[in-house]
């Protein structure tokens, strides 16, 4: 995988799609934490009235792969976050879920502190990601965008995140 990874942060709300590009960079051996624009992304200006699910892709310095974080925003629910089972129910249809669990390549949904906001968020555990991606990539050279598309297809699908055709085309086009 090349040295620079372009992460696309997306907010999916009830109809509008905003995407912002942020650059995360780091070498593989001596990981240097680089201040990036992610911190400029302010959660408090979400002008979303209806419940929303926020997906973030954040590079993990520990696991050295992208990790998918999921935050639920629902003013009506007050401050209560859904439980793991409730989260699965909201994100993934039951039939699909048993299929996903059977493959064993996608980690379970767990709760942690969001690395940027430090507030509770779900994340798809990345312990299997590196191996699974190796199997999919199969030693080919990929651009960061191709890698992310494959990653989204595998990890994202397990939690109801589909890549819209327009976005896939935009990512594969000339940079």
């Amino acid at each position: 995988m090349s040295r620079s990874l372009r992460a696309i942060l997306r907010r999916i709300s009830s109809g509008t799609l905003e995407s912002q590009e942020h650059q995360l960079s780091g070498s593989r051996e001596n990981e240097e934490f680089v201040e990036d624009d992610d911190e400029a992304l302010s959660r408090s200006d979400t002008s979303v009235d209806s419940p929303a699910v926020l997906y973030d892709m954040i590079h993990s310095p520990s696991y050295q792969v992208p990790v998918l974080y999921i935050t639920f925003k629902d003013e009506a629910a007050g401050k209560r976050m859904p439980s793991v089972d409730e989260a699965y129910e909201l994100l993934v249809p039951d039939a699909y879920r048993s299929q996903i669990e059977a493959t064993g390549v996608v980690g379970a949904l767990s709760m942690t502190d969001h690395p940027i906001s430090s507030t509770p968020a779900y994340f798809v555990h990345p312990c299997q990601t590196a191996e699974a991606m190796e199997a999919v990539v199969g030693g080919r050279k990929t651009t960061p965008e191709e890698y992310l598309l494959m990653w989204l297809g595998m990890i994202g699908a397990s939690v109801g995140l589909d890549v819209p055709v327009e976005l896939a085309e935009a990512m594969s086009g000339p940079v």
């Binding site: 001596n30 240097e32 906001s117």
Partner: protein, 323 residues
């Protein structure tokens, strides 16, 4: 030169025995007698987790609760209005929030012995011991604290995830921790719950010494309170403006430098946060604090990892700005 193993074992035991006196008061809004309930006094170990206190706190405060039906796992603790995160070890919370001056042995060595007793003081000279916290039983801040459950499952999951991550960081894979027997992993959690050093070491030594593998990196997390993170970044985030927001920095830290010299705390901090630690040897702008003590920048990360790590395998280092 690496320290002899008996000294390291001594140091680990001293750290294991560290504790901090707490005085917990019931939030007036949850209390039938408003602010006149007795405080609960306890002295938990620094390495442990506050959530383990919940059953005793609940039992102690129950007679005073406006709503006596509330469950222990619905309670939460705060310090000066800041909710305290359950998965942060207790000693780390103290280092980050209490305002206590960390003990600086280097500074003490250079001072007149008559004035250099190891007293605990805040920057303003008041003593922050016992540490005064507030227990709440309503209005759980689920947007800031992970929700607990009656079985302690959330706490266990968060602990296990941290142990797995530490193992992955050390070896580049999580095979060692995943291959622990059920007995071993049960013992590890039980050692955490009962605070049993021998039981803990019996399992943890397997994680620190995986057969046939050389450890590659040191599990390290660096905590920057708002003033420190503002030095490092140009943008002041919405979150940082909230009191008590801590920025957590992580980076893969190899045990050795490219020159094959051992990695020290100073070389690591200088490489990860050069604007806060411009020198690898001298703390010019900030000091790293572990277990209430300023750690010399020359400390070898390998030794630190083996003696001063918390129960989840991480070195949780608080950064305290100077001046």
């Amino acid at each position: 030169m690496p320290a002899p193993s008996s000294r390291l074992a001594d140091l680990q035991r001293k750290i294991w025995n560290g504790s901090i006196p707490l005085e917990v008061r019931l939030a007036a809004s949850d209390c039938r007698t408003y602010d006149e309930s007795e405080p609960y006094l306890v002295q938990p170990p620094r390495l442990s987790y506050l959530a383990f206190l919940l059953p005793q706190l609940h039992a102690f405060f129950k007679p005073s609760l406006i709503d006596p039906q509330v469950q222990p796992h619905e309670a939460w603790l705060s310090f000066e209005g800041v909710p305290l995160k359950w998965h942060y070890p207790f000693g780390l919370l103290y280092d980050l929030f209490s305002g206590a001056e960390p003990v600086d042995f280097d500074k003490q060595r250079n001072e007149d012995p008559a004035t250099s007793q190891a007293t605990v003081e805040t920057a303003s000279g008041t003593t922050p011991l016992p540490w005064r916290l507030t227990a709440h039983f309503t209005e759980y801040p689920g947007d800031q604290l992970i929700q607990l459950d009656a079985d302690g499952r959330a706490l266990l999951d968060s602990y296990i995830n941290a142990v797995k991550e530490a193992d992955f960081i050390r070896n580049g894979n999580a095979r060692t921790v995943m291959s622990l027997s059920k007995g071993d992993s049960d013992n590890l959690w039980r050692a955490v719950q009962t605070y049993d050093l021998n039981l803990f070491n019996s399992v943890n030594s397997k994680l620190l010494n995986p057969p046939g593998m050389e450890l590659r990196h040191v599990p390290l997390k660096i905590y920057l309170p708002t003033s420190a993170s503002q030095t490092a970044s140009e943008t002041i985030t919405e979150e940082a403006k909230q009191a008590g927001h801590i920025r957590v920095v992580q980076s893969l830290v190899p045990l050795h430098l490219p020159s094959r010299q051992p990695q020290t705390l100073g070389t690591a901090l200088n490489s990860i946060l050069p604007s806060i630690f411009p020198s690898r040897r001298n703390p010019l702008l900030a000091q790293p604090v572990l277990h209430g003590v300023v750690v010399p920048l020359g400390a070898h990360l390998n030794d630190l990892g083996r003696t001063a790590s918390y129960l989840d395998g991480f070195l949780h280092v608080a950064v305290v700005m100077l001046g």
